[in-house]
């Protein structure tokens, strides 16, 4: 038998499933709240395009750094996936982020008139589509 496979199997044996499930659900709700607040912040600040996603990435990294310190630097002891599982926000939370972002952007900046000069528009267009 491959020694690595055996090692990981033995490692797997040491996890107690209910604890893992509890950890995962707690981390999930932390991530959900992170993405919601990040979305709300991005929307209220009026961030557009990649700046909003950058805020999402930043918030995800920040929250996973905090979680990592909660795990005392050893996420592998608490989650079978290790730090990848700790950082990975998951697709659902990305959608939640988009939802909150769009909602708050729509509420705060949705119906303001933004007069755009042709020059500025040109720059914007290039920025968006390059």
């Amino acid at each position: 038998m491959d020694p690595n496979a055996q090692d990981s199997e033995q490692q797997q044996q040491l996890y107690y499933p209910p604890h893992i499930v509890a950890n995962q659900s707690r981390i999930y709700s932390t991530k959900f709240l992170t993405s919601c607040f990040a979305g709300a912040a991005a929307g209220i600040l009026g961030l557009e395009n990649f700046r909003g996603f950058a805020l999402f990435v930043f918030a995800t990294l920040l929250s996973s750094a905090l979680l990592w310190s909660r795990c005392k630097g050893l996420p592998k002891n608490h989650l079978p996936g290790g730090w990848v599982e700790l950082v990975n926000p998951g697709q659902e939370n990305l959608s939640s982020f988009l939802l909150a972002w769009t909602l708050f952007y729509g509420i705060v900046h949705g119906e303001t008139i933004q007069p755009i000069s042709p020059l500025q528009a040109d720059g914007d267009a290039n920025q968006v589509y390059d």
């Binding site: 999930y28 009026g46 395009n49 909003g52 939640s96 988009l98 119906e111 755009i116």
Partner: protein, 282 residues
């Protein structure tokens, strides 16, 4: 490129009434329908039927053997106990001691596996799954119809991120403007954003095993719920399972390794009382 440039110069002024009477209602209705769906599914669920004692014993015997061999490679059970349990289970499986209908008589052929569709218990489980699926599907159709009927034909909101033109036909359905930026979207797109984005909220307010969110494994197969439901009553051919279990037990005997093997040497070495040069390969 020219089309893109002209589209980004367009600035629309959206009526605040649209926000108050379309954006918020759609979100609130979707959240409430999700909660309602959760409780309807809870009401539809019938408690699993109680199994007779013999049937439970049959299942638990398989479970015991599985637990025993799952940890065999680094078993916490000392050798003499492990071998005793393993032998006992092997004998019992061979003799058919734990079978629901008792051991086979001389010259009797094992009964054929019962058909899933003819077993009323299994049908029950399947029906529950189907009902849950209906509760998932119907509100979605109704909300989509509602949105299409009342809120079609105008721009609802501006997305804060750009999309490719491929999304135009989907996100701006009912708004016949060939040049408008794809970022201005109709109410149906807001519905889809809600549809995908609210799962986390459902998990937060209803718990992780709620019926409101469509989790990926449930989406994968409409029968996933049914399978889970019917698991306890599912007819299985325990003759075959037991004989397979016997083979597995024999195989695990070979794999077996006690976790406490030469533990004293390892402990001594860990605390430096033994030179590590004499380490043996285990």
């Amino acid at each position: 490129m020219t089309a893109d440039m002209s589209s980004s110069t367009v600035s629309l002024y959206l009526d605040p009434q649209i926000r108050d009477w379309v954006l918020f209602p759609i979100t609130v209705v979707m959240i409430l329908v999700g909660v309602l769906r959760h409780y309807v599914v809870l009401l539809l669920q019938t408690p699993p039927k109680k199994l007779p004692r013999a049937a439970i014993r049959e299942q638990r015997a398989v479970l015991r053997s599985q637990v025993l061999r799952a940890t065999a490679a680094k078993s916490p059970i000392p050798p003499h106990i492990y071998h005793a349990i393993s032998l006992h289970l092997d004998d019992a499986f061979a003799a058919g001691k734990y079978l629901k209908d008792g051991p086979l008589k001389e010259g009797e052929a094992p009964p054929a596996a019962p058909n899933i569709l003819s077993d009323p218990n299994a049908m029950d489980g399947m029906m529950t799954g189907m009902k849950a699926q209906m509760v998932m599907m119907v509100p979605q159709m109704v909300i989509m119809g509602w949105i299409n009927f009342f809120f079609q034909g105008f721009v609802l909101i501006k997305l804060p991120f750009p999309l490719t033109l491929g999304f135009k036909s989907m996100l701006q359905r009912g708004i016949e403007t060939p040049d408008m930026d794809v970022r201005w979207v109709s109410s149906l797109s807001w519905y889809f954003l809600n549809f995908f984005g609210l799962n986390g909220l459902y998990r937060l307010i209803l718990g992780s095993d709620n019926s409101a969110s469509q989790s990926s494994q449930e989406m994968a197969s409409p029968f996933a719920g049914a399978m889970q439901q019917s698991q306890p009553g599912q007819p299985m051919d325990y003759h075959k399972i037991f004989s397979a279990e016997r083979d597995n037990l024999k195989f695990s005997e070979g794999l077996y390794n006690w976790v406490g093997d030469d533990v004293e040497t390892r402990v001594l070495r860990k605390y430096g009382k033994l030179p590590s040069a004499t380490s043996r390969t285990s």
